[in-house]
Amino acid sequence: MTKMTMVEALNLAMRQEMEKDDRVIILGEDVGVDGGVFRVTDSLISTFGEQRVVDTPLAESGIIGTSIGMAVYGLRPVCEIQFSGFSYYIFHQLEAHAARLRHRSQGRFHVPLVVRTPCGGGVRALEHHSESREAYYAHTPGVKMVIPSGPRNARALLVSAIRDPDPVVFFEPKALYRAFREEVPEEEESMPLGQPQLVREGDDVTIISYGAMMVPVLEAADSLKEKDGIVAEIIDLLTISPLDDTLIASSVQKTGRAVVVHEAPRSFGPGAELVARLVEKSFYYLEAPVKRVTGYDIVYPLFAREKAYMPDTGKIVQAVKETLEV
């Protein structure tokens, strides 16, 4: 197995799916010759040509709108929105059509498209380049919302997203693009959408998170174990929506305590749904209030103040301790 960055792993997923399936087509701004501003589609154009790796005009609604048409026609467009902060330009198309054409046509049509887009902060970027608004998509019926947390699961989930018969919004935590390498098998590997993963077992508390936050979550768990003897069970959602809460429920029914971590603003954020699900299914097992460690409900600051905005190991450790102390 080769050690790959997330960028390389995502590239591999697209390359192999394109080799296997001529319905798979890449569209987006700068995805061709430039290989994407983060190089995720690097050199795909030289292998597959301009017909299959399409540099589009600068128009997000145009990208998603034509992708919907292609998907209805029977292709499998994988389109890139350059930053998730610009994905709101596609929102009306996604909500009104991608998410609904299956229903509207009573099953005659469906829209197997993937919207790949880099999300999240921590890379000292400009305004609109650090946001995490997965909740918008997660709250939209008819759309699946996926966020990987490392090269290997990024590759495997993207493969499944491409094969999925329904629209998938695929957020790529840009802070992880080159943060670390993982063994990624050359041979085909996929992972079902809709299944959170148990990353580490523990008895004292359950930490639920996803995406780039898995890094400080794991660090926090290490620190808690070493310094405080607290053993956290860790769950990586991977698919935010449709959310399967089976694993979360069983874990918290064991540990009795939970902390939820995400970069997104707290209020009406993904963490709220996790708390609500825990209350619905596991109320009587909860021994302490579930804590949310999240971004604040403010405009994401420029990078001089970014560290103060972002959840990090310290904040997570603190929250876990508070959850256990009570």
């Binding site: 145009g62 292709l75 009104a96 005659r108």
Partner: protein, 368 residues
Amino acid sequence: MPRSEIELPYRIEYLSILDENGNLDKELEPDIPDDILVKLHREMLSGRRFDERMLNLQRQGRIGTFPPIKGQEASQLGAVATLKNSDWMVPAFREALAEFWRGKPRENFILFYGGYDEGGAVEEGRNDLPVAIPVGSQMLHAVGIGMGIQYRRKDDVVMTFFGDGATSEGDFHEALNFAGVFQAPVIFICQNNQWAISVPRSRQTHAKTLAQKALAHGLPGIQVDGNDVLAVYAAAREAVERARTGKGPTLIECFTYRMSLHTTADDPKKYRSEDEVKEWEKRDPIPRFQAYLTQKGLLTDEVVEQLEADIAQEIQGAIDRAEKLMAREVDPLDMFNHTFAELPPSLILQRQEAELDLSLRKEEDRHD
């Protein structure tokens, strides 16, 4: 070098062949097979009658809000009649006649506006997208389908419909622009019926015509008399031919008029004069075409009379079939069927919850 005019490849033209007074421009008269001419007439008439019946049904509360077509029969049918079966059609929400031409059963219209999702079904083999209500959003889908056709090296084309109001939406321009860049085989049919609910065409844009919007994207654009089915057909056929032979997209503005309500929830008296409507009644697309066909020997008064009877019966049949379906008890749980290909666990639970709720209700009803 200094201050000079830039030559653009396209000029905007206007086309009219059979005018409201029955004058025919022989030179431009398109060569259309007799059976198509007769079918066009039949469908126009049938559309007019269907509209009238639906208005009745709506007023009786038997269906909900719907958008009438009256006045736009020629511009819809003249355009769509130039398509092959394997071509694609992407309508807005006022193109029921075009959809019927393509094979949509009339009862589906009634079901749809009667509140039954079933009415949105698109039959296998009919390459049309369902109705798109969000204004301006559907043209991009047509372009994507066109790009798919190019990718598969087919010689099919896509025709998409939209109103004058829709040309103000950014998505309209993104669609024209993508179509231009990729030279996709798309025919953009603008149904300029002069009104977007209460907003007149003059307020929609400072441009003299809608056809000239094509120039922004380097495409040919033409304005046609949308109440002249011959002109619409001729312009559409030319555009279809261009698209089919790889010569790219065209924008056609059909200059027509919404003679009736925006939808059954609308009261046009608030915003437009009776006089304006009367003026346009003179330009009604049906009488002039009927006169033309009569002159051509393709129609007689008796034939028309018989036609009216046939149409009335046909419409009644559609109503009967739809009402029969609507009279049956529907299973509300069907609403879970088409969100995803497969129900995810969270929706299985919600469906169970809904099922339980429905059964509790039934029980209560029994006890009441």
